[in-house]
């Protein structure tokens, strides 16, 4: 966990320094803001990982001497098959077509998106399909 945090935090520090230098030297707003936002985007997960890394024991994947047995147990729930990504993808497709060909495409588009959101959430609560 600690290495992950260090990677993100050091990238964030570099972007922060770059945005300060750039802002004061170039007086150009767009790039300065974007680099500053890049810093925040690194600090948010980086800070989260750092906070946790100080409060938890090293995970087996952080321990150079871990045995495979230490990783035994459930690592997560992985749905077997699911139609909802396809439904959501097609919904997004129709929403984008609405940008080009006419607002009425939003009806099937948003319909599929909402249907997929409900279906996918319900599927997640059941712990996957099959």
């Amino acid at each position: 966990m600690r290495t992950e945090a260090k990677v993100l935090l050091s990238l964030g520090v570099f972007f922060g320094a770059m945005s300060v230098v750039y802002w004061n030297w170039g007086h150009e707003n767009a790039g300065g803001v974007m680099m500053f936002a890049g810093m925040l985007l690194c600090f948010l997960p980086g800070g989260y990982y750092y906070w946790w890394s100080r409060r938890m024991r090293a995970r087996p994947e952080d321990d150079p001497n871990a045995t495979q047995a230490q990783g035994a147990g459930v690592v997560g729930a992985f749905p077997g098959t699911s139609i909802w990504p396809f439904t959501l993808g097609m919904g997004a497709f129709f929403v984008v077509l609405a940008l080009v060909f006419g607002i009425w495409f939003l009806v099937p588009g948003l319909g599929l998106v909402v249907w997929a959101l409900f279906g996918g959430t319900a599927e997640g609560r059941r712990g996957g399909t099959q």
Binding site: A30, N65, Q68, G76, F78, P79, T81
Partner: protein, 571 residues
């Protein structure tokens, strides 16, 4: 070192057994539509991306045919604009990018770190569907009145506004890019979460294969860069249809803001495209030189520094606008040559005194090195504003980035030859592979090197015709010959797939590989592993297969043992 234990239990869906699932699930096209298996999704990505490469390549051949003779009239000016726009868009947005972080990354990264799947399998499937529908959206521009987008793949304002580029083709281009952009963002989230949370016990960050490291940095860059593009596209759409004036001068907007936003995505995008192929090449060179990666930590830090610097170099595409801070962007761009040079040094160091086995994958990797070096060095020229002022928007720039992306294509082909056996269980024919390599390598140089000269002699890019000028004509014809050779290499690849179809069973570890993917079966089972070895270095499979050798410490390269020749399969 040699004890092998069962991998962690994966709760697939309640308490079903993994083995049963493959028999009870949907079949046929429904199986493809509902799959959440990262290997199947990765394969869909691979096939779609290769189809996009063929489409983009066909567009390129038409462009080269048009430019073969002066004042040619094979295509109209308007068609030519569509051709170069869609060639660039298809290649960058729909082929190289998705191939880099969607196709092989999707298949290989979870297996390399000992994970059962990507962290969010359904999100992964959604990424693929957005990529597919985005590709269809962008390409369908060819079938609407007014034709496909024709403002160049960079869509500079104010050329891309509704007055200068009316029609549905441009909107379809924006829409397709929105979809593929979200696809990339979701893949970035997925890769980060997978690499941070699903590593096998003992697989510390500094034991991850270089390919996985590169994909981690790629994923972080995706998360930093792609949202900016998406925001920019929405602004562009609003300018075109809702009467906003973000990029138009009459309403108080700033056209050059589009360039800032576009290149703030566009330059990290170059590294989003390149880093995965750097990773592939690193793996290939190490395995086929029978040595651990030279300077593992240097490689990791070089990758991280490329990622860090890439966010501060975007305006080197905008030197000639006259409103950017030249020294800052020049310094930052030149600095990127340092970590890239470290990588180049380490690749050569990995080969140095190794038992180099010139399989097709290795040839592709070496071809990548040479071609990327040409593209990289000319990039250093372009990072210098005084030189850039003279070469901007000439064929010199076109040649520079075609050297780069053709190097990436060689990396992609190397990756397919190297990991294809793991994914499908069958090897490709090496003889046809080598024929493909030589056509690709020679063709690339023949088609890019004349472009450098054309650029230095003043030929602007994106022109459909040029006046009769003997030296321009000869160089253009040479370039067309090279493009045809590259086309032949693509045909050779297709022939190889058909010819080698299920002909040469690969076995689990045909190359005596280093990393975890070579420990499992070919193709890997559902959830990837029946068992995992103990992980004590960055190459656990090699340690397991060569128990007499101590695990290689970083920076220690003494294990160069010719007596293991007999384990090298001859294909």
């Amino acid at each position: 070192m040699t004890d092998v234990l069962d991998p962690p239990v994966v709760a697939a869906h309640g308490d079903h057994d993994d083995e049963h699932e493959e028999h009870h699930g949907p079949t046929g096209i429904l199986k493809w539509m509902t799959t959440t298996d990262h290997k199947v999704i990765g394969m869909s990505y691979t096939v779609t991306a290769v189809i996009m490469m063929v489409i983009g390549g066909a567009l390129a051949e038409i462009i080269r045919a048009q430019l073969t003779t002066p004042n040619n009239s094979l295509v109209s000016f308007a068609q030519f604009n569509e051709l170069f726009t869609m060639h660039g868009s298809v290649m960058i947005y729909l082929f190289v990018g998705p191939f880099a972080f969607g196709a092989l990354a999707n298949i290989i990264v979870p297996i390399q770190i000992g994970a059962p799947d990507m962290a969010f399998p359904r999100l992964n499937a959604l990424s693929y569907w957005l990529y597919l529908t985005g590709s269809i959206t962008m390409l369908s521009g060819f079938f609407v009145a007014g034709g496909a987008a024709n403002f160049g793949w960079v869509a500079y304002a104010p050329l891309s506004n509704s007055i200068n580029t009316p029609g549905a083709g441009a909107d379809l281009w924006i829409g397709g890019l929105l979809l593929t952009g979200f696809s990339a963002i979701f893949t970035g989230v997925n890769l980060c979460a997978t690499i941070f949370y699903l590593r096998a016990p003992g697989m510390t960050m500094f034991r991850m294969p270089i390919f996985t490291w590169n994909l981690l940095v790629t994923a972080i860059l995706i998360l930093l860069a792609f949202p900016v593009l998406t925001a920019g596209l929405i602004m562009l759409y609003c300018d075109r249809h809702f009467g906003t004036h973000i990029f138009t001068v009459p309403g108080g907007g700033v056209p050059v803001l589009w360039q800032h936003i576009f290149w703030f995505w566009g330059h990290p995008e170059v590294y989003i495209l390149a880093l995965p192929f750097f990773g592939m090449v690193t793996e290939i060179i190490a395995v086929f030189s029978r040595k651990p990666v030279f300077g593992y930590k240097g490689m990791v830090f070089a990758t991280l520094s490329i990622g860090a610097l890439s966010l501060g170099v975007w305006a080197h595409h905008m030197f000639t606008t006259g409103v950017v801070l030249l020294p800052f962007f020049s310094i930052m761009s030149l600095l990127i040559a340092v970590p890239t040079g470290i990588k180049m040094f380490n690749w050569i160091g990995t080969m140095w005194r190794g038992e180099v086995w010139f399989s097709t994958a290795m040839l592709m990797a070496v071809g990548f090195l040479i071609t990327f070096l040409i593209g990289g060095l000319t990039g250093i020229y372009l990072a210098s504003p005084p030189l850039d002022f003279f070469t901007h928007d000439t064929y010199f720039v076109v040649a520079h980035f075609h050297s780069i992306v053709m190097a990436l294509v060689m990396g992609a082909m190397g990756g397919l030859y190297y990991w294809g056996p793991k994914i499908t269980g069958y090897l490709l024919n090496e003889t046809i592979g080598k024929i493909q390599f030589w056509f690709l390598f020679i063709g690339t140089q023949v088609f890019t090197l004349p472009m450098y000269l054309l650029g230095l002699r003043g030929m602007p890019r994106r022109i459909p015709v040029y006046p009769l000028h003997p030296s321009w004509q000869f160089l253009n014809q040479l370039s067309t010959v090279g493009a045809v050779l590259v086309g032949v290499s693509t045909v050779a690849f297709m022939v190889n797939i058909v010819y080698s179809w299920k002909k040469y069973p690969a076995g689990d570890n045909p190359w005596d590989g280093h990393t975890l993917e070579w420990f499992t079966t070919s193709p890997p089972p559902h959830h990837n592993f029946y068992r995992l070895p103990q992980i004590r270095s960055e190459r656990p499979t090699w340690d397991y297969n060569h128990p007499g050798h101590t695990a290689a410490e970083h920076g220690h390269h003494a294990d160069h043992h010719p007596e293991h020749h007999d384990e090298v399969p001859v294909v």
